[in-house]
């Protein structure tokens, strides 16, 4: 049996989160009534002209900087000519031989711990096409809201070797564009789209095999499954003495199969030529330097810093750096409380749980990092117990009051007063003579039961350290 190696390249389209479209003032956001966001420019009316949205250029440049591309001082828009009803002008304004970003790299770590570096060929700006809707009536309907929404297309080198790597690559791109706050990265809504080019060859072979293109993968899982499917299909085909034919496949996530696209595949001649309506995009050194100041710390750097500066375990640093918003929340809590590990525990624990349950983003989370830091301080200063702290946390979320006020109002303060604790201990020792005797007979574990009972009596408010200490002292003195 021959061993095969897969060669995979990905093209990712990320919708840039600008307020207006790439070449007109229309609202670029998702979800409006069909055809509500349209004007003569994006409708391709006779005589209308495109004017470049500079914000989109800055977003594209930021991405280039984040993936270590060369951001070109001059790039050129070109027309890609083809006919389709959702393409009002009969051409898409894209970039061809002079893209804004050239080169670049993405670092991945596989589940087996192997680190991989994937090359990026280029990233270029282009406008999105409209949406053809085939299933609402006999006719095909066109929604032009998406026409002219800015996209950046990121083309990888054929450096990916497994379906897992393909998924990790898309996840990494998503993480980066979200860190940069230039794209939602929502694959289901289509703000992040991915096409894969897949071929296989015998291990050790240097020539590339015939490739196929897979489209319509609407989730990370789909990317992995579709690529896996196609690798296996091609290997089976070759093993059976067949040949791979160049074609475009559509991933059917419901059936877990890739099916050839309907209609005959004709090699398109897009007749690219420089867009005469737009001057070349020039980025001066000063402007590039200014844009670079807006480049945030990226996930890998953040993760390393969380370990070195805050002494967090690798696991915590990894989880917290997944999202920039989460990382920044954690960091504010850590800095305000001075206790990074507690901040990490709270952020990964209670905060993450609340966000999950409420189905919100951390940006919408109502408890400010400063208030959470106060709660952490209350625990540290023995004002409240860990259990009570959780109640304070929930209350602070609901009531928009300071944690201190909540502790006072709800009488959640921890009992650290020795005489008060002694009273409770005495009562417990009286009520649970069996456990006391067991302890005195050498059964150490019985103290746990007694502590639990005392805690219950205090309704969770007893200072656990003090309670433990006093109880043990009392029992020892009874020996």
């Amino acid at each position: 049996m021959t061993d095969y190696e897969a060669v995979i390249g990905l093209e990712i389209h990320a919708q840039l989160k600008t307020e207006s479209k790439l070449f007109c003032g229309c609202d670029a956001s998702y979800g409006a009534e069909p055809n509500a966001n349209a004007c003569p420019v994006c409708l391709g009316h006779p005589g209308a002209l495109p004017v470049l949205n500079e914000r989109a250029v800055e977003f594209a440049a930021l991405l280039g900087m984040a993936i270590e591309s060369r951001v070109n001082p001059v790039s050129i828009f070109a027309r890609k000519n083809y006919f389709y009803p959702d393409l009002p002008k009969g051409y898409q304004i894209s970039q061809f031989d002079k893209p804004i970003c050239t080169g670049g790299r993405i670092a991945l770590t596989r589940a087996d711990g192997v680190a991989r570096e994937i090359g990026v060929t280029r990233a270029h700006m282009e406008e999105d096409a409209g949406k053809s809707i085939h299933d609402r009536s006999d006719a095909t309907l066109v929604d032009v809201n998406r026409c002219g929404v800015p996209l950046i297309e990121i083309v990888s080198e054929p450096d990916l070797r497994t379906a897992e790597e393909a998924r990790l690559y898309v996840e990494k791109i998503r993480q980066i564009v979200r860190y940069l706050r230039i794209c939602d990265g929502n694959m289901e809504e289509g703000s992040l789209r991915c096409d894969a080019n897949v071929s296989v060859r015998p291990q050790g072979e240097t020539e590339l095999g015939v490739k196929t293109e897979i489209k319509n993968m609407n989730s990370f899982k789909s990317v992995e499954r579709a690529v896996e499917f196609e690798i296996e299909r091609q290997i089976d085909l070759i093993e059976d003495g067949g040949e791979v034919t160049q074609q475009t496949l559509l991933w059917d996530a419901d059936r877990n199969v890739a099916v050839p696209m309907r209609g005959k595949e004709s090699a398109h001649d897009y007749r690219y030529f420089p867009e005469p309506d737009l001057p070349p995009v020039a980025l001066s050194e000063e402007r590039l330097a200014e844009i670079r100041t807006r480049l945030p710390e990226l996930p890998d750097a953040k993760r390393e810093r969380f370990v070195s500066d805050y002494g967090l375990p690798d696991y915590d640093a990894d989880v917290l750096s997944q999202s920039r918003d989460v990382a920044e929340y954690f960091e504010r809590v850590a800095n305000a409380s001075g206790d990074a590990k507690a901040a990490s525990n709270w952020t990964m624990g209670e905060v993450a749980r609340e966000i999950r349950e409420r189905k919100i983003e951390i940006a919408e989370f109502l408890l400010s990092p400063e208030r959470l830091a106060e709660i952490i301080a209350l625990v540290k200063d023995n004002v409240v117990s860990a259990t009570a702290a959780k109640e304070v946390f929930v209350a602070a979320l609901e009531e928009d009051k300071s944690p201190k006020t909540i502790v006072e109002e709800r009488n959640l303060g921890q009992i650290s007063d020795a005489s008060e604790l002694d009273e409770m201990i005495d009562q417990i020792l009286k009520e649970h003579t069996v456990a006391v005797e067991e302890y005195l007979a050498g059964k150490e574990k019985a103290i746990g039961f007694l502590v639990g009972q005392a805690m219950r009596l205090s309704r969770g408010k007893a200072n656990p350290q003090l309670l433990n200490k006093s109880l043990r002292q009392k029992l020892e003195s009874m020996k």
Partner: protein
Amino acid sequence: MTPYRDYSEKRRLLASGELSLVENVEAFLARIEERRSLNAFTSVFADEAIEEAKRVEKKIADGSAGKLAGMVVAVKDVLAERSRPNTCCSKTLEDFVAVYDATPVKRLREEDAILIGRTNCDEFSMGGSNENSAFGPARNPIDETRVPGGSSGGSAVAVAANLCDVALGADTGGSIRQPAAYCGVYGLKPTYSRVSRYGLVAFASSFDSVGPMAKNVEDVALALGVIAGYDENDATSADVPVPDYVEAISQDAKGLKIGLPKEYFAEGLNAEVRAAIEGAAKALEELGVEIVEVSAPHTDYAIATYYLLTTAEASSNLARYDGMRYGRRAKGERSLAETYRASRTEGFGEEVKRRIMLGTFALSAGYYDAYYGKAQKARRLVREDFKRAFKKVDLLVAPSAPTTAFPLGEKIDDPLEMYLQDVYTTPASLAGCPGVNVPVGADAAGLPIGLQVIGDHFDEAGVLRLAKLIGERVGGARSSAE
């Protein structure tokens, strides 16, 4: 005849009350009606024009009127005017109504010009005789059996036949200058990017220029001053200050140094036209203007270069007329591809189809470098010809067209012969330089002869200043065709 020589006189008469703007507009409307056989207009807005006249009269009376108050302007049917048909003289857009104003149109309106109607032209500005119009050809008012030139034929006719004060044309490779020459009026193609193209239906985007046509230089200068200047809606419009052209042309032109590019006087130039241009040059010399011969060695490549690049751009610019969102859609149930094919086959005329085919070919894989790529290089060479020339001289003087107006139907079946009419106008278009046609007398048949003044980028002031001198002191400029 209009009872004034130019707009500034009209404005005085309007201000003093000696001229009623309503009556003036009514007179234009009557003459348009009288001369319907010229087929100069594709639509006329009589009622609106009279309403506008009333409104503007009030503004003149209360002192709030704009710079062009009461100037009656005809607009080539390729510039968008909100709520008015914008047919481009094509069947594909015969029912299309624009939803916005082109920037030059908007600027005219803001200065209280009265937009009286839309003028006939070659379909999508493709042609040099106005015969490629879905509405039939406009006719030359001097001899109605002859073409008015094109593509802005209707605009030239409307000016020459006194159907308006000023007309807007659009010039891609001579479409203002050549019909101005055939009809005996002034017509300016400004520097590329001087006037916004926003709302000008694109033929070839890197060439298209909007410019004014009139019976006198002063009105050309005045209208240019209004329509020129940066526009945030056109990324290619130049952010270069707009001088006061009216004041600029009042300055003396005699100190200028003029070049005659020898390649423009070679084979193919009609003897009477040559004599008229050379005579004008001589007369200038006698006035003390220095005249020297210069060379523009790449002039021979201009036509081929121009037709490769403009058809390439046109093939893409006209892709939007697919019958899907607006414009003509072929009737009957067909597949998507068949609907495209049938709609475009029905909608476009022969010349437009020919150019789309040429341009599609020039951009095709395997041919791009040999045609489009090479043509771009040739364009640079032509541009350098002008750069070199303008180091030596201030302005160039040349013929606007190789002949005078030819008979209708004479060249319609011979596209190449038709394209050769553009031989003297396409070089400046390739270089983006401004050029103006100046009427300089007539041939034996009484047909106007046109002289072209070409200037360096953004030197419309110089071009117009020399045009004025020639018009006043040299040429027998025809003021009308009556």
